[in-house]
């Protein structure tokens, strides 16, 4: 009851600050993802066996791994890889899923629509990760296939979301009035519906970004994602965890990296939600 005013203020402030931090970390990540390869002190692939399992020191800020490779350089390059993966998977998932979803949602109710939705619901019954693992195995385990797999296994959820949203949007008064004013379908879609579903698209994209990074890491961890010696974070964690008895520290740098990026993405998503109506999903 009492100092509630202060609480609210603090909360609002805190929230905003957090999502700002998220944005900051995220932009740093993007920057490193693009320019990382220019900043690395060592060749991330160069093995130096004599100097393996070094704890952090002046030469190797994050130490060295089982083959004496500089972990710092690898993490930097890894950022680039992760960025690439996430964006590609995003494109596959969101664009294909989004388009299908919007079209299906915009479609008049007919047998085709029903079938597609039903099929989609069936696909949704596969756990995301299980589906991703399966598809990767199907395509043959390497990074590109992992990306495709992640993208594909995300499509159903996108279709679901957009289908629902567009459906609800297109039955709203203003659309109906617009139609009655004789606006063309295309125009309605682009001028009226899309702007209104943009926020949802944004939030989901950011969330999915986080999800992708985790998924890729997981696939690489299982061993069906990125191929060695590629410095993908998930792969690094796996190799480090294989030697965690000898050199436990090895797990830390890539884990932190993943944690930070995903965290920042989530923070931003929260921030976005704050600004838009809370009942998104």
């Amino acid at each position: 009851m009492n100092n509630n005013f202060l609480n609210n203020l603090q909360k609002g402030f805190l929230k905003r600050k957090l999502s700002l931090i998220g944005l900051l970390i995220f932009s740093i990540f993007i920057f490193l993802g693009i320019f990382g390869p220019l900043l690395i002190p060592y060749d991330p692939y160069k093995t130096e066996y004599s100097n393996r399992y070094q704890l952090p020191n002046n030469n190797n800020i994050f130490g060295t791994d089982w083959a004496g490779r500089d972990v710092f350089s690898r993490v930097l390059v890894g950022a680039g890889i992760t960025l690439k993966i996430s964006i590609m998977a995003l494109c596959i998932g969101s664009i294909i899923g989004g388009i299908i979803g919007i079209l299906i949602g915009y479609m008049k109710n007919n047998i085709l629509k029903m079938l597609v939705i039903q099929f989609n619901d069936i696909l949704l019954t596969f756990p995301f990760l299980v589906l991703a693992i399966l598809i990767t195995a199907l395509l043959g385990s390497n990074l590109n296939n992992a990306i495709i797999a992640i993208g594909i296994s995300r499509i159903p959820r996108y279709v679901r979301i957009f289908c629902l949203v567009v459906n609800s949007e297109k039955n709203k008064k203003y659309i109906i009035s617009a139609t009655s004013l004789g606006a063309s379908k295309i125009r309605i879609l682009f001028y009226h519906i899309l702007p209104n579903i943009l926020p949802i698209f944004l939030v989901n994209t950011v969330l999915f970004f986080a999800l992708t990074i985790i998924a890729e890491a997981t696939l690489s961890f299982i061993g069906i994602g990125a191929q060695p010696p590629m410095p993908s974070w998930g792969l690094m964690i796996r190799q480090a965890s294989e030697n965690m008895l000898v050199y436990p520290f090895g797990v830390i740098p890539p884990s932190i990296a993943i944690l930070l990026v995903v965290l920042s993405a989530n923070l931003m998503a929260d921030g976005l939600r704050e600004f838009m109506d809370p009942k998104l999903r």
Binding site: M1, N2, N4, F5, N8
Partner: protein, 327 residues
């Protein structure tokens, strides 16, 4: 001392982002035992806040800043302001000694429990009786409020009932512990006219029945005429006139009261005369810094009204008014 409740110089402020808004400032009021006090005022004048501050349920960011609310029962008197709203004592008073009927019967009952459960619950937190007994009482009280075939229908869920029925249930729930003070916050506004009539009749029966003290809040003078013994007219968080029903309707003193009375539509009025209203509209609380809150709208405004704040002055033992016309 036959006052059940004495409110002295009550201040309630609401803290919004930047400024603080005084919803009630320096309000004095006392409610006599077994009488019905009607509280009238336009919406937003702080009627409900007054009620809630008695219950200790002012929603955040609201807060009682000053004043006392003396509540007397079995030879003791407590200051409700002092007690923490979550404290055991306060809980033993709420719903037991003081209970309240809300405006919105539709949303005021928990949708996921049967109405029976919700009333029984009320009984069982205040009186240690076993389930069967409290269930029997529930059925009885529902009978009293004219709830059809309660034996079966106490298992109904709120969403299965009409507004009128729900309001009856609310009333039953409020009365089930035989409270000393019953606060009814616009119990009829949300209902349509015929139902209103029924509910009002019910309230009157209750008055005759086990004479509770009632604080009846409404914006409808018509209703007041039927219900109240005494009337307090509120304007922007202050009481401008306090008098017995007859006084109010026969010779109202405060220009605002007069205005209100004139704006009641009556049947015996010629068609061609317009229903006259009070010019301007209600200022936001705290908007007027100096002088009488009402002067911008007052037909009989004087120079001093602008900078002198009127006090509540006793005209007769039946009537008090706060207006500079009478000082």
């Amino acid at each position: 001392m036959d006052n059940l409740l004495d409110i002295t110089s009550l201040h309630v402020d609401f803290y919004l982002d930047k400024k603080t808004i005084p919803a009630i400032n320096g309000l004095n009021l006392s409610i006599k035992k077994e009488k019905t006090l009607g509280i009238v005022g336009e919406s937003g004048c702080g009627k409900s806040v007054l009620a809630l501050s008695i219950m200790g349920l002012i929603p955040p960011p609201g807060k009682i800043t000053k004043g006392k609310i003396w509540f007397r029962y079995n030879q003791s008197e407590i200051d409700l302001v002092k007690i923490n709203f979550k404290s055991k004592l306060m809980r033993s008073i709420r719903g037991n000694k003081i209970s309240m009927i809300f405006q919105e019967p539709m949303t005021s009952l928990n949708p996921v429990f049967t109405i029976g459960d919700q009333i029984i619950e009320t009984i069982r937190i205040h009186q240690n009786v076993n389930y069967t007994v409290s269930k029997q009482r529930t059925i009885n009280i529902l009978k009293e409020v004219g709830y059809p075939e309660p034996e079966k229908r106490i298992y109904d869920y709120p969403h299965q009932l009409s507004g009128g029925m729900l309001q009856r249930v609310m009333i039953a729930m409020a009365l089930v512990c035989k409270p000393l003070l019953l606060i009814a916050d616009e119990p009829t506004t949300a209902l349509d006219v015929t139902i209103q009539a029924q509910v009002l009749r019910l309230m009157n029966e209750i008055k005759k029945g086990f004479k509770p003290t009632i604080m009846f809040i409404t914006h409808d003078l018509g209703v007041i005429a039927k219900m109240a013994d005494e009337v307090a007219i509120m304007y922007v968080g202050e009481i401008v006139e306090l008098a017995s029903v007859n006084e109010i309707f026969s010779n109202a003193k405060h220009p605002y009261t007069i205005g209100l009375l004139q704006s009641i539509p009556t049947l015996n009025r010629q068609r061609n005369i317009l229903l006259n209203t009070i010019k301007g509209n209600v200022p936001n609380p705290g908007e007027i810094k100096y002088g009488c809150n009402f002067y911008p709208r007052c037909p009989q405004v004087m120079k001093k009204c602008k900078n002198e704040k009127p006090k509540l002055i006793k005209l007769s033992n039946k009537q008090e008014v706060s207006c500079l016309l009478y000082s």
